[in-house]
């Protein structure tokens, strides 16, 4: 190496050192809350090799924060393409990017802005990857917008942790979500601490409007929109397939809803309400995304560097609310021994023995602790109802109209429920309600 190139290399090294001065100061100076190991050379070197995965709607913020936390090897998964309504908060996207893959555009932007970071983009769904893929990471951080995707990645990481024989199999999962001025950040050490499935009842689905209300006695503008969306659309099929992002389709539903509302004297139908109802739009703003994504990445940084105590084994959940002043509630969510994902026991299911199997299956969709939309069910030794394959579905369909009692199921009966959305089995046992007279 010539003197000059060595000098250039030294200058580059100096500027790299100068660049990370603040962050290295924290990493190399132990504080009162620092794990003593954090400043050992071996540990410091480990951080340089840390491989981290990010996914979901908080992606822009997460990629920025991880890159600015000196993570060098980052993967990002997102199957979505950029929509104009993302531009008020997903700050790496411009109007000219609309229609392109989010993961790709975001990764490229951050790589260009922050020298030395490598970001690999996957324009896919998280469910498109298997355990071998997920095993390469030390940590997963996500701001997914659907509960289903969260439950899937959670189940995947718990199963990796349970199958693994060394601590490297435990890949912390950091999850963030926002709604308006509110949000939450939580840290999960799969198979050791309360997991997303343990906490499912904290995110109960909104009660659905009964079909008879929509069909015959609407009272709210949303009832009229649902009527147009579900019933009128099915009857008239104005377009081959409903695209909720196509203004023409939304306008059709809007006009239908408007007519129905006029018939019943129901005020309040707007285009915005129509779109919000059919797409189940959740308000989202830049500032809340910034708070929650950074709170998540702060936890990732603390876990990866042990420079300070992280959320996880004690407190593991932070709720944030900015509607009325600022309020945070940081607490420990306890692991559930009967969690279908990380627990070992079957969980009780309160049922009326006179209910039909169909009613029971329908109830899985709305029970906060289950939230299964396409359940199949079997009891010890007999298949009660299977969604697939078709032959089995046809064979088991007659059971749907029978009551649990008539199917010979008893109090304390163990049943196994599966759903194509999740790579796992849910174990329940029946707890019969006392018969009311």
């Amino acid at each position: 190496m010539s003197v000059e190139t060595r000098r250039a290399a030294d200058v580059a090294a100096d500027s790299e050192t100068a660049r990370w001065k603040y962050l290295e100061q924290i990493r190399r100076t132990p504080g009162p809350f620092t794990n003593p190991e954090a400043v050992e050379d071996e540990f410091l070197a480990q951080f340089e090799r840390f491989k981290i995965l990010g996914a979901g709607g908080l992606g822009c913020e997460i990629l920025k924060n991880l890159a600015m936390s000196k993570f060098k090897d980052i993967h990002v998964i997102d199957m979505d393409t950029i929509d104009i309504s993302n531009l008020n908060r997903q700050f790496l996207f411009r109007k000219s990017d609309v229609g392109k893959f989010k993961a790709e555009v975001a990764a490229k932007f951050v790589e260009q802005r922050v020298k030395g970071v490598k970001i690999t983009a996957h324009n896919k769904r998280i469910q498109d990857f298997d355990d071998e893929f997920y095993k390469q990471f030390q940590l997963v951080i996500c701001g997914l917008d659907s509960i289903e995707a969260r439950r899937w990645i959670n189940a995947m990481l718990v199963s990796i942790a349970e199958e693994s024989e060394d601590p490297d199999g435990v890949k912390p999962l950091i999850d963030g979500g926002t709604e308006g001025f509110k949000g939450q950040a939580r840290v999960i050490f799969p198979s050791f601490t309360s997991c997303i499935e343990c906490q499912l009842d904290m995110h109960a689905p909104r009660a659905a409007v009964p079909l008879c209300t929509i069909a015959s006695i609407p009272r709210q503008p949303e009832h009229c929109v649902e009527w147009a969306h579900v019933i009128a659309w099915e009857q008239e099929k104005p377009f081959p397939k409903l695209d909720k992002d196509d203004p023409e389709h939304v306008t059709w539903i809007y006009q239908k809803a408007l007519k129905r509302a006029e018939e019943f004297n129901i005020p309040g139908i707007t285009y915005s309400l129509t779109q919000g109802t059919i797409k189940n739009i959740i308000p989202a703003i830049a500032s809340t995304n910034a708070i929650i994504a950074a709170a998540c990445c702060n936890e990732a940084f603390k876990i990866a560097t042990t420079t300070a105590t992280c959320l996880g084994f004690e407190n593991n959940y932070m709720m944030y609310s900015g509607n009325d002043s600022i309020y945070t509630y940081t607490f420990k969510h306890e692991k559930k021994e009967d969690c279908p994902v990380c627990g070992r026991e079957a969980r009780p299911l309160d049922v009326d023995p006179n209910m039909t199997l169909q009613d029971l299956l329908d109830s899985f969709a709305v029970r906060p602790e289950a939230q299964l939309k396409k359940p199949s069910i079997r009891a010890e030794g007999k298949t009660l109802y299977m969604q697939v394959p078709q032959s089995l579905e046809e064979q088991t369909r007659p059971n749907l109209n029978k009551s649990l009692k008539d199917l010979g199921l008893e109090n304390g009966q163990e049943v196994v429920v599966t759903d194509p959305a999740f790579p796992l089995e849910f174990n329940f046992f029946f707890r019969f309600k006392e018969e009311s007279s």
Binding site: A18, R19, W20, K21, Y22, L23, Q25, I26, T29, P30, G31, P32, N65, M68, S69, I84, S85, L87, N88, R89, F91, Q112, R113, V114, K115, F181, I217, P218, R219, T251, E262, N265, P267, G268, Y271, G276, I281, P283, A284, I285, A286, S287, T288, A290, I291, A294, A295, N298, K302, T309, E314, M318, G322, N323, D324, S325, I326, Y329, T330, K332
Partner: protein, 532 residues
């Protein structure tokens, strides 16, 4: 009826590009909030490591703030690139204000932004502040020279401009809002469920008549009709029965309400094909929350009892409507009917009739308050809509920075926080300890960037002797000292998000801002709001 008219005459057309872009936030603060944001002009006086202020601006440029100015005398160095995302290699050696402004402007073409790199001391800052342009709000990040701070505070007093001080070091941060006077908010966006007041214990004649008419032959109704009586009517009917059996008194205690609920349960028909009645279930479930007299909340009492110290302030539309509402309350011994009716099982036409009974009453009350408003000097031009919103939200209007109530002294605050900590020590981890040591420790090195832990403890104890020997303060000081004045990007990003939320709340005058200081602990991942 105007709503119906609008529905028929409106030519359906999709939203504009701008409405599409801002759709997710318009659902939070509507067109009025957006207009307020778009006419705001912000000044950021940046200093130190300088990231937290830029992160704040990012969250305000995206939703479409009108204009921002960055005043920052710093020149970009390597160290900035490791903490500030709105800089890159090509910025080295250039003005930090300029580079950040340019990269922030890329985020939203509708926003205007300028920079000023000449602000390096109190004199140059004064020059900027003397310019004819007035700022809606000023944010400044510590460490700041004392002279500059004085200039900012003087500007705030003179122009009645809200100020926000921000400080982010290592895993800790705080920000503090200084408002020019008492800050009232009407549009506080309370939870939908909290706003419902069905007036079950003080029904007006039209409501009672409607209920009586529907229930006069209740036992002979067929299953369908019985199963579609709205829960409001069910409750009114059985409350009447209860009253007759209890010497004219309503059920008020928990025990009485439980007993009343049994009355509803017993009246539920179970010999129908469904084996029960949804509307009666709804009535049963509504007893605890809705069979109650809504008292005047303390936040509204504050408004009623407020004594003006500022003549000009008392002439604002808020205070004129508040005065009219107070008169209304004194005369009627109740607040205006809010007018909302939650969804409940009922026939469409019956529900709409009932909804209109609530709406009509609300309208009458609004008109009553409006006529009082018009008689107060200065109230001649106040619009119906403003009075309507005030009446609807009457129980949720809120005062921030109430200048009529002097905040406790720092000494009293510390004493209170320390005694809370003693309780917390016994209560265990569920009760968090005070974050005031973080605020006090951060306030020390405001203009001396890298104090040692001992220096911090000494300086805090000089101001707050009660903290002498406090173990938590020692830890906080050590934690702070090790950061040597540097920012961590994540902590500044969290803080920038919180400050941006507060700026939005103040500018739109929607939701409720903090009163007045928020401390963030990035180690325990929690905040505390203190009035200092």
């Amino acid at each position: 009826m105007t709503e119906e008219l609008e529905q028929t005459t409106l030519i359906p057309q999709g939203p504009s590009d701008k409405e599409k872009k801002y759709d997710r936030q318009l659902r939070l603060w509507a067109a009025s909030g957006q207009a307020a944001l778009e006419s705001a002009n912000l000044l950021l006086i940046n200093s130190g490591a300088g990231t937290v202020g830029i992160e704040t601006l990012k969250n305000l440029v995206l939703p479409g703030i009108g204009k921002f100015t960055i005043a920052d005398g710093a020149v970009v160095q390597d160290v900035d690139l490791g903490v500030n995302f709105f800089l890159d290699e090509s910025c080295l050696g250039k003005s930090r204000a300029q580079c950040c402004t340019e990269l922030l402007l890329e985020l939203n073409p509708e926003v205007d932004g300028v920079w000023n790199s000449a602000v390096t001391d109190a004199t140059s800052l004064q020059e900027l502040l003397n310019a004819p342009e007035t700022f809606t709000m000023i944010m400044y990040s510590h460490p700041l020279q004392p002279g500059m701070l004085e200039a900012i505070e003087a500007y705030g007093r003179q122009h009645r401009t809200p100020l926000i001080a921000i400080h982010s070091v290592g895993f800790y941060s705080y920000f503090r809002i200084t408002l020019p006077g008492t800050f009232p908010t009407v549009d506080t966006h309370p939870d939908q469920t909290a706003t419902t007041d069905l007036r079950l214990l003080s029904p007006w004649p039209e409501l009672s008549e409607f209920a009586n008419e529907m229930t006069k032959d209740i036992d002979n109704l067929d299953h369908h009709d019985h199963g579609h009586i709205p829960m409001v009517v069910i409750l009114l009917y059985y409350l009447d029965i209860w009253k007759k059996e209890h010497g004219g008194a309503y059920p008020t205690s928990y025990g009485e309400k439980t007993e009343f609920r049994q009355l509803i349960s017993k009246a539920t028909r179970r010999d129908n094909p469904e084996g029960g009645e949804e509307n009666f279930d709804e009535a049963f479930a509504a007893v605890m929350q809705h069979v109650t007299l809504q008292p005047v909340p303390s936040s509204l009492k504050q408004v009623f009892d407020y004594e003006h110290t500022d003549e000009q302030d008392s002439k604002s539309s808020f205070w004129i409507i508040a005065e009219a509402l107070k008169q209304f309350y004194a005369e009627n011994e109740r607040l205006p009917v809010a007018g909302g009716l939650p969804d409940m099982k009922a026939q469409s036409s019956v529900y709409i009739q009932l909804q209109n009974i609530y709406k009509d009453k609300a309208r009458q009350d609004v008109n009553d308050v409006l006529s009082r408003v018009r008689k107060i000097s200065g109230g001649e031009n106040i619009g119906l809509e403003e009075v309507e919103l005030f009446c609807k939200n009457a129980r949720f209007v809120k005062l921030i920075n109430n200048t009529g109530e002097a905040p406790p002294s720092m000494e009293q605050i510390i004493e209170r926080e320390l005694s809370n900590d003693e309780i917390a020590a016994i209560a265990g981890p569920e009760m968090p300890t005070s974050l005031i040591p973080i605020y006090l420790a951060l306030s020390v090195p405001s203009h001396a960037s890298a104090a040692s832990a001992d220096e911090i403890v000494t300086a805090v104890c000089q101001k707050a002797p009660a903290l002498e020997g406090n173990e938590r303060l020692t830890q906080v000081a050590q934690e702070l000292a090790r950061a040597a004045g540097g920012e961590l990007h994540n902590i500044s990003a969290v803080t920038g998000g919180m400050v941006a939320q507060e700026v939005i709340k103040i500018i739109t005058n929607q939701y409720v801002p903090i009163d007045n200081t928020c401390v963030f602990d990035g180690i325990e991942s929690r905040c505390q709001v203190l009035r200092l």
